[in-house]
Amino acid sequence: MDTNQYLVLFIDEGREHLQNLNDKMLVLENDPNDLSVVNEIFRSAHTLKGMSASMGFEDMANLTHKMENVLDALRHKQIEVTSDMMDALFESIDHLEAMLDQIIQGQSDKRDVSDIVKKLQVIEKNGTISNSDEPINLSQSTNVAAISKPKNNEQYDLNDTEWAMISQAKDAELSAYFIKVNLTEDCMLKAARAVMVFQAIEGRGDVIKTTPDTEKIEQAEFDLIFTFIFITGESPDKIKRDILTVSEIDKVEIDEITPRKTEDNIKTSDHPTEKKELDKSKSTAPVQVNKTIRVNLDRLDHLLNLFEELIIDRGRLEQISNEVGDQHLKSQVEKIHRVSNQLQETILNLRMVPVETVFNRFPRMVRNLSKDLNKKIELVITGADTEVDRSIVDELGDPLVHLLRNSLDHGIELPEVRLKNGKNETGTVQLRAFHSGNHVIIEIEDDGAGIDRQKIIAKAIENGLITSEQSSKLSDQEVFHLMFASGFSTAEKISDISGRGVGLDVVESNIRKIGGTVSVESTLGKGSRFTVKLPLTLSIINAMLIKLGEETYAVPISSIVETMLLRQIELKTVNKKDVLIYRDTVVPFVDLRHILQVPNSDCVSSKQAVMIVKQSNHYLAFAVDELLGHQEIVIKSLGNYLKSVKGISGATILGDGRVALILDCEAIA
């Protein structure tokens, strides 16, 4: 049978289970006596085994089976959790992840796992008293087996040929079973599950009839339950077990069919009837579950695109309504404005995902790295449920991995050093995420050695980034920021983990690409804190529209510190450069029209204003000819042909259909 159509499902679920394994194993490592966690791990491994076996990925099934043996021994307290065991289990997960990656790339799951299999076997035996091939205890899982009362043969609705086949089977010492499979209510791909069920029992016998018929089953034209008649030499329990390896199956009922004319129905059930009642009570108990659906991301993107069009048209409509000046029109347009604002919030919320999806791989990473580095490090994650737009989350992983590695490698000292300095032997790295206004802040804070200002300065001078005269004037912030300059690395030793000198500048450019900033604070000997500030969403922002000459530009409100009238300020000249004094700081005053090559730059407007904007660690001021007011704008990229233009982060469509460029305040020099 063609399994390709279920591959996507398999990959998705496989990933989830592997992540779950990773998470739960870390929990187990911290609390080796928590048997409930062992059970959870066991279940994930077990499901993974069943899934991969039914998809024909034998190496994967094999390895998970070995893991399962160890876990089984563990939960029956035949062996104890040891560090070796955890290492071996983690290693197995790495192998499984690699296999899954291979499968994703369209290869087979073939992989040399003999070493790890040997390790697992040794672990399983050591401490295991009896290595009895204990059958998997299915009652542990939620798939409570229940075999129903005998039924009348008429219920099976079989025709003569089928009865004949059943009789023949009986003569050949095979049995015919009526099997009823009940899928769970939240089952997504009923057809896929059904086919997986048939795959699971393929080779054990023959399916002679299905209800509804096969075609309908494959089209998912059934309601959670489908039944089939199966002729086999295997025991019903074995078949049931096979079927239950497929996930999302609520229960399986198996009845033996006796050939016609024979009156006595044989019960295959030896299960206590209480179980069935228990099952019933479970199903009637009202469970408050939030109903969710999975939606393809493309659809969400499409929805957002459509909404952006709507926002542009709304802008046009507002402009027209202002020109017409009709009260009815105006109030109606205002209503549309309000509703679309709510719509915007809802749509953007749909796209929000918790940063957890990025954070959840870090505990593993920290565990591995601290072993490699011979350091003792504890990672404390807070605010993993903080939500960010999906497009940001996608770009966030790499920069955070780098910052985290940086903290582990350069920040946290070796245990001996820490003890000598009167610190706790175990270093702590805090990974925090939280909302702040229209931003999401992610902080990585370590209690390590801190950053040595002098070392940074020396290195920066050596690399020609600054001169020694400049260095004395720089604030700590500015000095630390030099680390993000390209070609800068202070690690005395180049290590695998970080310090190739290509790191932090890439981090910054990646973060800037998604509209964020990164800053550093540090106290020598106490530790450092890297703060990443990100916008909540990338696609719609609040912006101030300004006029320069005849042209209109948009400046993100988030970059603006203050606007004032030109005549209110007093320009000074320092080193032949214009500056103004704002709140006791010297702010460079630049000629934006010149920077943006605006034609007819000499016309002077009476509405001239000065705008002060934020750059990563200082302010910048420039004159604009007119402030046109603020509005929500939709950010569009300039397209592949122009990719990046200095000082411009994108473009937007104004109410009159014209394009306005969006200023990138960070990149205006």
């Binding site: 695109n305 952006e308 069009e309 542009i312 450019s509 042209e551 920077i595 943006l596 090559q597 605006v598 034609p599 569009k636 990229s637 300039l638 397209g639 592949n640 042909y641 122009l642 990719k643 990046s644 233009v645 200095k646 000082g647 411009i648 473009a651 469509i653 259909g657 014209r658 394009v659 306005a660 460029l661 990149a667």
Partner: protein, 156 residues
């Protein structure tokens, strides 16, 4: 030059009374001139950026791209929107109003220089309607030669 050996449709456009052609499968649409917003720090032949159905499309002034003199009597200017390798670009031309069907036999290889255009931008020359000559542009080259790559790299 035609790899398929079948007839290909070309959209014809005029520049300084010379006729050029681009394969129809690279053309997204032909638009009337509309507001174009100037973009700073780009090559001078990039007229600016405009929007077509919500997409941002940079517009290239083909005259300047090929160092031709500006047309004086163009009154039916059009912007031909083309898409090549995920790049959508508008070509600002004097006029565009014809589609021709060319068979491979009508297409000849490029002589060294055609109308001041370097041969690398040209896929071939075609004869159509008695003795009219038509220059077939290699848009990929026009959009991706070094100059354009420079343009992409202008600043980070």
């Amino acid at each position: 030059m035609n790899q398929l050996g079948q007839n290909t449709k070309f959209i014809l456009f005029e520049l300084n009374e010379e006729t050029f052609g681009v394969p129809i499968n690279q053309v997204v649409s032909i638009e009337r001139p509309q507001a174009i917003t100037r973009v700073p720090h780009v090559q001078d032949y990039v007229k600016g950026i405009m929007t077509i159905r919500g997409l941002m499309v940079p517009v290239i002034d083909i005259h300047k791209r090929f160092n031709m003199a500006e047309s004086l009597k163009a009154t039916e200017e059009r912007i031909i929107i083309v898409e090549i390798d995920d790049m959508m670009v508008g070509l600002y031309v004097d006029s565009a109003h014809q589609v021709v069907d060319l068979s491979p036999s009508q297409i000849e290889d490029t002589p060294e220089i055609v109308g001041g255009l370097e041969a690398e931008y040209i896929d071939g020359i075609a004869r159509y309607k008695e003795d009219k000559l038509l220059v077939l542009l290699n848009l990929k080259k026009v959009l991706t030669t070094n100059e354009v790559n420079d343009l992409k790299k202008i600043e980070v």
